[in-house]
Structures are given as structure tokens and as C-alpha cells.
């Protein structure tokens, strides 16, 4: 599953990345595989989105979110 498919309020675990260039950016910002993320909100026009990771909010475009592969977590 891709991060772009997550709904607001849902949490997930980062698994992998499908875009080499972008992945380094995400990794450096603390989005490392195994990290739990929460989809905080989607911008009023449907793009970009904001996620909660490693204790802070990170905003990214939907096209960028498509490159983050996740697995959803059950709780919450």
C-alpha cells in the first residue's frame, strides 16, 4: 500500500520507498522503515498532505507520498 492511499487519522508503518532520489530525503527527515506515521490532514484542495512522523509534522505532495510504501496498523 502507498502512503497516498492512507486516510486522515489512520496510522501506518513505513516499509520501503519506490523512488531512489526521494527516498534519501525522506530517510533524512526521519521517515525510516519501521517508523510509525499518522496521516494528520489533507490540504483543502486535496494536495499536499501532512503526516506526523518522529514527533513532528511533515508536509509532502501526493505525488511524493506515492513513493512511500506502507503497511497499515490496526489500533486507533
Amino acid at each position: 500500500m502507498k502512503l497516498s492511499e492512507l486516510k486522515p487519522g489512520q496510522t501506518a508503518i513505513i516499509k520501503d520507498f519506490s523512488d531512489g532520489d526521494l527516498s534519501l530525503r525522506f530517510l533524512e527527515m526521519g521517515c525510516v522503515p519501521g517508523e510509525e506515521i499518522l496521516l494528520e490532514r489533507i490540504a483543502p484542495l486535496g494536495d499536499p498532505i501532512a503526516i506526523r512522523v518522529s514527533g513532528y509534522s511533515l508536509c509532502l505532495r501526493v505525488s511524493e507520498a506515492e513513493s512511500i510504501l506502507i503497511s497499515t496498523t490496526e489500533h486507533k
Partner: protein, 655 residues
């Protein structure tokens, strides 16, 4: 360490870590803005003395990693890896946001691994104390093997101890965090596995040093504010409200100080004219240099006000939300969520607006914003518009309540905006991107603005404008003064002789003669010659050589058009728009025997002024912001082209 050597301290850290606030506290007003060697990235350095040891602080652009891609972020790794670089630091003061300790430690440990001594500053420790986390500072120092200080830059707590630690910095313990070399030949793959490895090590360190009372995702206050500020309806309403406030205040509040500055300068000019011996030098000083300086100083109120607002919006964290809600729309036009403020401020004045593009991290999106912002109708166009509208548009009501003159004025503003957006779209396809457009950006938590950093930010921007753009503005002013007050040969002497005959003195008052001489001199000057020379080129636009002169002189600033018209039509008081209008209305085109300022000419002229780059201050600021003459030259060319052909089209369709 020897007392005569300056200790170089680099300030590094993530954006929003409070790095600049700490820099301001450590150095006060004793700051210098320059460039990092070899690149066009601004370098701020500050000087101070700690116990008789001279210390230079160098503020590096905020970044998240040493593998950075953008020009700004590359400075730090380049300087750290180059021991011969003149700004290579003796010690790095790493500023970390305590509430974001995990991500902060990433860059911190990267820097530690370069072998340069590092002191870690845990900033905003007060915010952490209020939250559900706690950091064991002593334990963290032990784990990292470096000195760690917990401070609150906002109220300068713990600064003295930090300063003392700095001058003992050379005995700092060094320790490698990521000691194992990763066997991987592909650079990108190596960086990736290093990053994952590094976060693993940081995670282990944090496990021993940070205690969480409760695991919660998200700060509740920020979440609640965000629910409103990024709401699909309120979010945009509040944003437009903020824009309206910013725009209104730049437009109206700055009017008083600007008027005061103008009055002060004209009083000063008059004083000098009356007290210095008449002659070329005095005229150069008053009409060339002083006029140029006044043209620089008069912008300071607008710049200060705009940057007060931007400073507050940026510091509170609201600016990031503006980008968040507008990015989708603006991206289509090659712009960025951060282009909104420059574009809207451009309605007041392009100069501060272009300075405001610094907050756009992507190079291409920033250049496009700089290139199109001057198309927004600025306040200097207003006097030109109002004069021409009142000349040809009747003050009638449309649909019983809308003023026709007002409607035309609004249409001119709309045309400027549409031209800006469409030009941006075009440039999106022309300009090559230097780096991929990312929008991976932190949304910082909301906090109260730090007034000292807002204030220092204003001072910094004003300094940049006065010293960078100011030089160019004064130089062009002098050139324009020479053009309009000098003539080849003895043309001016002949004019003086012609008007100072007995016959003239009897039939005209000395005041009238002065005006006639001024008029005649302008016609005969180099500017007048240029006007005549230009006439064949601008005739298809409906302009004559008199308008040609005004086009030359108003290159200094658009509103000079009105003053030049006053001189050309020998109206002494240039503040009296009524009389200029009457003279212009009475002007007859000798070839056609009809009014010179027909509706077609006036509209052609208005469209010309809407698009033309008739502003040397903008050219100067684009130069100082892009650090290259290429962009202002391109901008001048495309805007002149657009202005010429649009005016041509308008005149040919309407005549």
C-alpha cells in the same frame, strides 16, 4: 590559544531550530552580511569577545543533512570538508530543537563524524519541559561524547555558560558516531544505508536519554489551530484577511513616513540649492546624487513594514500553512505555495516583494516568482493610471452604482495579475530546473513570534536594500540626471539668451520665463534627443517624442512620468494634477488636427506602463537577489517586448 587569532564558530542546525535567534543573542547588532566564498549564498557573520578572545560566529543556512541538494544547503558540507576554506570553523555550535531531538541529532552526528569539534545546544528546552518528554542532558553528553547545553534562546537562559564553554572548545572530545564504514560502491545506496544506520544509533542513544511519560502522536494545540487555519473555508478566508491586512498596511501606513521622507529631502535639496554656490557640482549633488538617495530611502518604510509582517508570519509558523493550502493552485503555474506573499506584496511595491522570495526554497520556482512579480501593478503606477484615466474616461456610473473610472483602474490591476500568472506558466516550460521540485517540508508548531528576531530581520532587509540595490539606484539616477540636464554643444546657452531678451522680460513674468526655459531645455537635452530619436519606433503605439522623453525619464520610477509631463507642458507645480490634465487635454496632434491624447493613446500608454519594466529599483533588487545581470536583463527585455506589442495592439485596435 593565541590571543591574536580569531576563534571561528559555525552555527548549524535544522530550519526552525532557533539557530538565528541564538546567533542574534550571541552577536547582537554587530553583524555583517556577505557571501560564502565561491557561491552566491548569503553569509551572516557576527563578532564578539569572550574573555579577551575574539570570536567570529558564522550563521550557516538551516539544513537537515550533509547530503543536501540545494545550493544553500551545500554550503555547510563544502565548508566542513575543506580545511583551507576561509570560513572553515574551529568548532561547530549545533543548535537542536529539543522537541525534535531525534531528527536534530541526525545532522549533528553527521557533523561530529567529519572530525570537527561540536557543542550541542538543546534549544527550546522550556517547550520540552512543558511537554511529556524529558531529556537527561548529562547522560546525552556522555553518550555522544561532546558537551551539551540546554538553553532557551528566547529569553537568553544558559547563554553565559555556553560562551565560556566555547573558548575552551579546542580540548573538546571527539567521537565518531557511525564508526563502521559501510561497504557499498553506489553513492546513493551508501547514503541511504548510512542514513538508516545512523537513525538506528540515534534511536539507541535516545532510548537511554529521553523519557516519554506518555506516547502521544501530535501536539494538541497546534492540531486545533491547524483545524481552523487549514480548513477548506475558514483557512482561505483567514488567509485573505491576512493578505488584506498586509496589503492595506503597506499601501496606507507607509504613506505617511514616505511623504515625510520626500518632504525632508526636498527641503534639504532646496536648502543646498540656496546655500551652495550655483553650478554644475551643486546641481549634480542635488538633482543627481541626493535625488537618487531619496529614491532609495523612500522605500524603507514599505520594506520595513512588509518584513515585519513576513517575520511574524514566518516565526509563528503560519507561513508554512499558507504554502500548504495554496501549493496545489500555484504549482500549476510553476510557482510554489510560498509565491503568494511576493505576488500580493507586488501590488504595493515590487522591491520588498522580490526580497520576500527568499523564503521559496526551490530555485526555479523562486526565479519565476521574481520574474513575474513586477507585472503586478505597483503603487508607483497608480499616479500614471489616475492621470490618464481622468484624461479620457468620463466619470460615469455603470449599472447605476459602479464608477467607470474605478472599473478601468480595477481592470488594469487584473490585467497585471493575469499577465503575471500566464508568464509564470510560460516560464515553467522554458526555465530549466536546477533541482527537482520537492515539497517535503516541516510544518513547525505554532509559537509566539520572537520580536527581537523579527526586528533584526527588518534591519537586515533594509541594509541589504540600501547597500546592494542602493548603489545601482544612485548610479542610474546620476545618469538620468545627466541625460535630462545636459545637451550637446551650446544649446542651453542659446536658450538662456533667447528668453533673457528685453522683449521677453517685459511680456512675461520671471516665473513664466523659468518654466519656458525648463521646458525648452528638456526638449534640447540628451533625453529630449532620445525622445525624438525614439519617435519613429513609438509612433505606431500612438506616442510622440514628448511621451518618448517621459519614457526615458520615468525609467527612474514610473511616477516620474507625471513630473516630466509637468515640465514638458510647463506646469510649474507638479503636484497639481488638474493643470497637467488640462494642458494634455488641450494638446492637438498637428498631423491629424485632433486631440493628441485620444482614448486610444491613453489606453495604449496605460497598457505600456502596466507591463513595462520602468523601474530601476526593481532592476537593482533583482540583480542583488539573483547575483547576476542575466535575470534583470532578461526581465527587462521580456517586459519591454510585452509592453511594446500590447500597447501597439491596443492603439491599432482602438484608433
Amino acid at each position: 590559544m593565541a590571543a591574536d587569532k580569531t576563534l571561528k564558530v559555525a552555527l548549524a542546525g535544522n530550519p526552525n531550530s532557533g539557530k538565528s535567534t541564538l546567533f542574534n543573542i550571541l552577536t547582537g547588532l554587530n553583524q555583517k552580511i556577505g557571501n560564502f566564498p565561491g557561491v552566491t549564498v548569503d553569509k551572516k557573520s557576527g563578532f564578539t569577545k569572550i574573555k579577551n578572545i575574539a570570536v567570529e560566529f558564522i550563521d550557516f543556512p538551516g539544513s537537515y543533512s550533509l547530503n543536501a541538494l540545494s545550493e544553500d544547503e551545500k554550503v555547510l558540507p563544502d565548508v566542513l570538508h575543506d580545511r583551507n576554506n576561509p570560513v572553515h570553523p574551529d568548532v561547530v555550535l549545533y543548535v537542536a530543537d529539543s522537541t525534535n531531538i531525534r531528527r536534530s541529532l541526525f545532522l549533528c552526528t553527521q557533523i561530529m563524524d567529519t572530525g570537527i569539534p561540536v557543542i550541542l545546544v538543546l534549544n527550546m528546552i522550556d517547550l520540552l519541559e512543558k511537554s511529556d518528554e524529558a531529556i537527561d542532558v548529562a547522560k546525552l553528553a556522555d553518550e555522544l561524547g561532546i558537551k551539551v547545553f540546554a538553553i532557551t534562546a528566547r529569553d537568553a537562559k544558559g547563554i553565559e555558560e555556553l560562551k565560556l564553554a566555547l573558548i575552551e572548545s579546542l580540548e573538546l572530545p571527539k567521537k565518531k558516531i557511525l564508526s563502521e564504514e559501510i561497504a557499498e560502491t553506489d553513492k546513493a545506496k551508501k547514503q541511504r544505508s548510512e542514513t538508516i544506520q545512523r537513525y538506528k544509533v540515534i534511536g539507541e542513544i535516545l532510548k537511554k536519554t529521553v523519557t516519554k511519560k506518555e506516547s502521544g502522536l501530535g501536539s494538541s494545540v497546534t492540531k486545533k489551530i491547524d483545524d481552523i487555519l487549514t480548513h477548506r473555508i475558514y483557512g482561505f478566508l483567514i488567509f485573505f484577511g491576512v493578505l488584506f491586512l498586509v496589503f492595506q498596511s503597506i499601501f496606507s501606513w507607509s504613506a505617511y513616513p514616505m511623504e515625510l521622507i520626500e518632504q525632508l529631502f526636498s527641503a534639504g535639496e532646496e536648502f543646498l540649492l540656496n546655500h551652495l554656490p550655483a553650478g554644475m557640482l551643486t546641481e549634480l549633488l542635488v538633482n543627481g546624487i541626493l535625488a537618487g538617495i531619496s529614491g532609495v530611502v523612500v522605500f524603507i518604510p514599505q520594506i520595513a513594514l512588509l518584513f515585519a509582517f513576513i517575520g511574524i508570519l514566518e516565526d509563528t509558523g503560519y507561513m508554512a500553512r499558507v504554502s500548504f493550502i495554496t501549493d496545489r493552485m500555484l504549482r500549476k503555474f510553476g510557482l510554489n505555495g510560498r509565491s503568494v506573499i511576493p505576488l500580493i506584496s507586488g501590488v504595493a511595491c515590487a522591491v520588498p516583494a522580490i526580497m520576500a522570495t527568499r523564503t521559496i526554497p526551490n530555485w526555479k520556482e523562486r526565479i519565476i516568482t521574481i520574474m513575474v512579480t513586477p507585472l503586478m501593478s505597483c503603487s508607483a503606477r497608480l499616479p500614471v493610471y489616475t492621470l490618464l484615466i481622468s484624461l479620457v474616461v468620463p466619470s460615469e456610473k455603470v449599472f447605476g452604482f459602479l464608477n467607470l473610472q474605478g472599473l478601468i483602474l480595477m481592470a488594469l490591476y487584473m490585467i497585471g495579475f493575469i499577465a503575471a500568472i500566464l508568464t509564470a506558466l510560460l516560464m515553467k516550460f522554458i526555465i530549466k530546473a536546477r533541482e527537482r521540485s520537492f515539497f517535503i517540508m516541516e510544518l513547525p508548531v505554532y509559537r509566539a513570534p520572537r520580536w527581537s528576531s523579527v526586528g533584526l530581520g527588518i534591519i537586515e532587509k533594509v541594509k541589504v536594500f540600501v547597500f546592494e540595490a542602493g548603489k545601482v539606484i544612485v548610479a542610474i539616477s546620476i545618469v538620468l540626471w545627466v541625460l535630462s540636464s545636459h545637451a550637446p554643444g551650446d544649446r542651453f546657452e542659446k536658450i538662456e539668451k533667447r528668453f533673457h531678451t528685453e522683449e521677453f522680460l517685459q511680456t512675461h513674468s520671471s516665473d513664466e520665463i523659468e518654466k519656458l526655459i525648463a521646458n525648452e531645455k528638456l526638449e534640447q537635452s540628451y533625453a529630449g534627443i532620445m525622445g525624438h530619436f525614439m519617435e519613429p519606433a513609438i509612433r505606431p503605439l500612438g506616442f510622440d517624442w514628448k511621451i518618448g522623453i517621459a519614457l526615458v525619464t520615468s525609467f527612474a520610477a514610473r511616477e516620474v512620468f507625471v513630473g516630466t509631463m509637468a515640465t514638458i507642458y510647463s506646469v510649474g507645480d507638479e503636484n497639481n494634477t488638474m493643470s497637467i490634465r488640462e494642458k494634455m487635454q488641450a494638446e492637438i496632434n498637428p498631423e491629424k488636427g485632433e486631440k493628441r491624447y485620444s482614448t486610444a493613446v491613453a489606453f495604449s500608454l496605460m497598457i505600456f506602463y502596466a507591463f513595462a519594466m520602468q523601474c530601476m529599483s526593481t532592476i537593482a533588487i533583482v540583480y542583488s537577489e539573483t547575483k547576476s545581470w542575466k535575470w534583470p536583463a532578461l526581465q527587462f527585455a521580456y517586459m519591454s517586448f510585452l509592453a511594446y506589442f500590447s500597447a501597439l495592439l491596443v492603439y491599432q485596435l482602438m484608433k
